[in-house]
Symmetry: C3
Subunit: 153 residues, 3 copies
Amino acid sequence: MHSLEQRIRELEDRAELERVLLQYYTAVDTLADMDGLLACFTPDALFDVADLGLEVYRGHGAIRAFFQGVFADTRYHCHHVTNFHINHLAGDEAKARGYVIGKAEGRGGASVFVHCCYDITYVRTAQGWKISVFDEDSLVPMGDEVSVLHGRR
Amino acid sequence: MHSLEQRIRELEDRAELERVLLQYYTAVDTLADMDGLLACFTPDALFDVADLGLEVYRGHGAIRAFFQGVFADTRYHCHHVTNFHINHLAGDEAKARGYVIGKAEGRGGASVFVHCCYDITYVRTAQGWKISVFDEDSLVPMGDEVSVLHGRR
Amino acid sequence: MHSLEQRIRELEDRAELERVLLQYYTAVDTLADMDGLLACFTPDALFDVADLGLEVYRGHGAIRAFFQGVFADTRYHCHHVTNFHINHLAGDEAKARGYVIGKAEGRGGASVFVHCCYDITYVRTAQGWKISVFDEDSLVPMGDEVSVLHGRR
């Protein structure tokens, strides 16, 4: 059995891991808060949305460029996070998985309503827990709606 | 670093703040449990749904009158709470933000499926945490569907 | 006031109760992981989906047979869990309630998008918390869409 301090630390870590993910989606949904968004990721993070018809982006520079396009081209969007659960937590690494319902409309008129899942790897840094791998996929067979909305730039 | 007791207290507070919000929406969805609904709010709470095309209601009396109308006019509704996170907790005050997906049908036939967000202020009272400000807005550009469903009274 | 150890234990229990439910839905959504699914239930668990136009299944054998049919007949589905809250926790028994948004398409072409709630009873066993009663109902007036998709076997 772990000490009380260790058990509290684990509960705090679990809450913080969820908080980081919600900070990410909150920032995404503002269509503006790039600093808040990038602060959720390690500088060399892998952001993999290839399964959605987009690409794999590596590092703050590439993630920023991707979201600059998203922020410019999206009229509105919102991401409802569900089913978040941590399936590994040991030392300074953690893994989690969950779902998200996304609703969006692009400035060009494209509209999507998607059901996705994500697998996340986190690392504990001097600035707190950060996402080092974010891998999103669709839970439902998908056409090219997301790439029409966000991609092909 | 806070004491173990303080850290446990904060984790308990965070769980309780979420529980109060879920009690509110659970009561709303019964279309009947007015006491359970009002018990989530301070007697002078501000309930602001003006951004949804409705009004600002202040205090148990005004909130009760609003929901008496909602309960009478709604055939069914349900509110799926997502993305709840506490962004301030100090002493006897807390603030939180989150999303909700609402599906409803009115007795008059109006049907809505909405994506909303809320900003909440809580205060700790002798009866536990209560909502003192509840401010709901739409995450998606909205017409008059909510005011047709619930409002204009 | 309970001891610090008791308070931590309760927070851990609450997290574990949610984890078991998410494990159940995660397994359901794989359309394959029968062992992971059954591991969430006591051997004699009551699985009651009669309110959805299906039946009451009692015990691992009956639950397995039901999901073998579901897994065979479903093209894809996903279940977004929301509003999970524990409304009773004492000793080795707990009760919880929550909602779920389900999206599914059957191999026969039937497609559903449903809003449901569930009431769960858990018991603490030597293998951890398990679901002993799972009772699901619709939050929205429902036709025969779920029984067409999953049922009538």
